[in-house]
């Protein structure tokens, strides 16, 4: 069975959950080979988890290069010849590695897919308003997979280790001169969260976003905001959900005081369950909500928070 390369997504030796999603998806195409590009010993720390989630092979490419993303591209380029395809997380970095790899190797680029089968891939586009099936017309397509789209199935692979060289970068590269970790605080990341509580214009002020945060914390949820709330300065832009912010697909999405402009719905309508609270019973958010309360979020949200806390206690 042909091998399928999976670029391991990790930060400072900590695996990102999306890697296991990629390994699960890779099994539909062939035998998963995890490719770890990182500092000395990076693969050692990740090997057990990768094997448990289906990696038949683990390529360890150790490098201390400060070239930005060039080692990842070069390693995948050196391995792609015998592969049935390459799977990469559809993160900002992942998309870029995938694009550069595709132009170098003349491979079809299938971007931000939500499903992978032997016949092709599935896309969910325009914020979930359309589904599309696509396929590559080349050898070894390069596929980026949307985080959260694949349900992880743990089934152990052979986990055979192999060290590979990191080829020298071709062409001039950007140099990394510093990194700062994400300052997300103690709440989960928006794109990885299983529950998200978002606030919109109806929250009314930056101070009152504590109502959104309070409910979120009771549920162990991430906090999001609509564009209207961000543009009004109620909440920082990195938490914006929607077409120009983040696209999210959690198990549960609770929209507080969000009218549901098409821009916003495009970023959240693929959530499994949607609950909306809005004063305006005509608000379009109710068209996509599984459960809606027409009412004042400042009364409803704290009551819900109490109920959640009670049940936990």
């Amino acid at each position: 069975m042909a091998e399928v390369l999976v670029l391991v997504d990790h930060v400072d030796g900590e695996i990102k959950k999306t890697t296991y999603e990629l390994l699960t998806a890779a099994k539909a195409l062939g035998s998963p080979s995890a490719v770890v590009v990182g500092g000395a010993g990076a693969a050692d720390k990740l090997a057990d988890g990768l094997t448990e989630h289906g990696a038949d092979k683990i390529y360890a490419a150790e490098t201390d290069s400060t070239d930005f993303l060039a080692p990842e591209v070069a390693v995948l380029e050196s391995l792609i010849g015998s592969a049935a395809g390459v799977l990469i997380s559809a993160s900002a970095n992942g998309k870029e590695v995938a694009g550069r790899l595709a132009v170098r190797t003349g491979s079809g680029l299938l971007s931000d897919v939500v499903g992978v089968t032997g016949d092709g891939v599935q896309h969910s586009i325009f914020g979930g308003a359309y589904t599309a099936e696509a396929k590559a017309n080349t050898e070894h397509p390069v596929i980026t997979v949307r985080p959260g789209a694949i349900d992880i199935e743990a089934s152990a692979g052979a986990g055979a280790r192999e060290s590979v060289e990191v080829p020298a970068a071709s062409g001039r590269q950007a140099t990394v001169t510093g990194r700062e970790p994400i300052q997300g605080g103690s709440r989960p990341e928006l794109t990885e969260a299983t529950v998200i509580v978002s606030g919109g214009r109806g929250v009314g002020s930056a101070e009152d976003f504590t109502v959104v945060e309070g409910l979120a914390d009771s549920l162990g949820a991430a906090v999001g905001a609509s564009r209207a709330a961000v543009d009004s300065g109620y909440y920082p832009p990195q938490f914006q959900v929607g077409q120009t912010g983040k696209s999210v697909s959690p198990q549960l999405y609770i929209a507080l005081g969000i009218s549901g402009a098409i821009q916003h719905r495009a970023g959240m309508q693929t959530s499994k369950t949607i609950v909306a609270v809005n004063k305006d019973e005509e608000a379009p958010i109710f068209e996509v909500a599984d459960f809606g309360i027409v009412g004042d979020l400042f009364k409803v949200a704290p009551q819900l928070q109490d109920e959640v806390t009670k049940r936990k206690g």
Partner: protein
């Protein structure tokens, strides 16, 4: 300093976007066409650099149908100096790799550029890789998702901000940069700018003019194909109840029923 900015016309994200039934490409007839918002930030960034340097030139590069000239005019009315527009029936349906190759050829028609500035991710395809692909093809560094950018001498530095945190990047010119949502606030074209834009030179090219062979672009030669597409059945609106003082409790009840809490 000579700066190329990549501009794309897209369907307005505030309108309902559709795919055509026949070939699964964007149904341009059915949607409002606008310059992609992020490209206004790319143009703004180029203008800021030009103004800071005291002299220079900003050249808009665009591929797309004839009506994309509206997007180009918007960029020119903001203050860009000239434009190159590839419009040819044959580019319809090109995939990301083909698009990157064609843009690289178009950039090649601009002599002596120092910097290419693009948006980080188009609002329609969201491939979010074309700037880096173009950089790879040009053999120059890619500094992408920049929310801060500065040029000092022949060195460009950016603050890259993504979900993975902040990365500081630096490279020698020439280079490709893509800008993010927080990079700047684009200016509104002034009346004077709008009038001046009408007289600014636009180099309208077809494939032959851009030195691109027909086999390198287009739906039939694409490296990937969409085999089917369908609008998702609209989500059925669920239960909607008016709060009578027990709204929060009712949500809790619903969530318990769905095994969500």
């Amino acid at each position: 300093m000579k700066i190329v900015t990549l501009v794309k016309q897209v369907a307005d994200t505030y309108s309902e976007r559709k795919l055509s039934d026949s070939d699964h490409t964007l149904d341009r007839e059915g949607t409002e066409a606008v310059i992609d918002e992020i490209n206004e930030r790319a143009v703004e960034q180029a203008l800021l650099l030009k103004e800071a340097a005291g002299d220079g030139e900003v050249v808009v590069v665009c591929m797309g149908p004839d009506r994309a000239s509206d997007a180009i005019r918007k960029a020119l009315s903001m203050g860009a100096d000239s434009a190159v527009h590839l419009s040819d029936e044959a580019i319809h349906g090109s995939c990301a790799v083909q698009t990157a190759r064609a843009l690289t050829k178009l950039i090649g028609t601009v002599e002596g550029w120092d910097l290419v500035i693009a948006g980080n991710s188009a609002s329609d395809g969201q491939v979010a890789a074309v700037p880096a692909m173009v950089a790879d093809l040009l053999g120059v560094p890619a500094l992408t998702w920049a929310n801060e950018l500065s040029v000092s001498g022949s060195t460009v530095t950016v603050k890259r901000e993504t979900d993975d945190g902040v990365t500081h990047l630096s490279a020698e010119l020439p280079a490709v940069v893509s800008v993010g949502e927080k990079s700047n606030e684009p200016r509104y074209p002034s009346f004077k700018g709008i009038m001046a834009a009408k007289k600014k030179p636009v180099n309208n090219l077809d494939l032959a003019g851009a030195g691109i062979d027909g086999s390198e672009v287009g739906l039939a030669n694409a490296l990937v194909s969409v085999t089917s597409s369908a609008p998702k059945p609209p989500k059925q609106a669920g239960e909607k109840v008016t709060d009578e003082g027990d709204g929060g409790a009712k949500i809790a009840e619903y969530l318990v029923g769905q095994k969500l809490i």
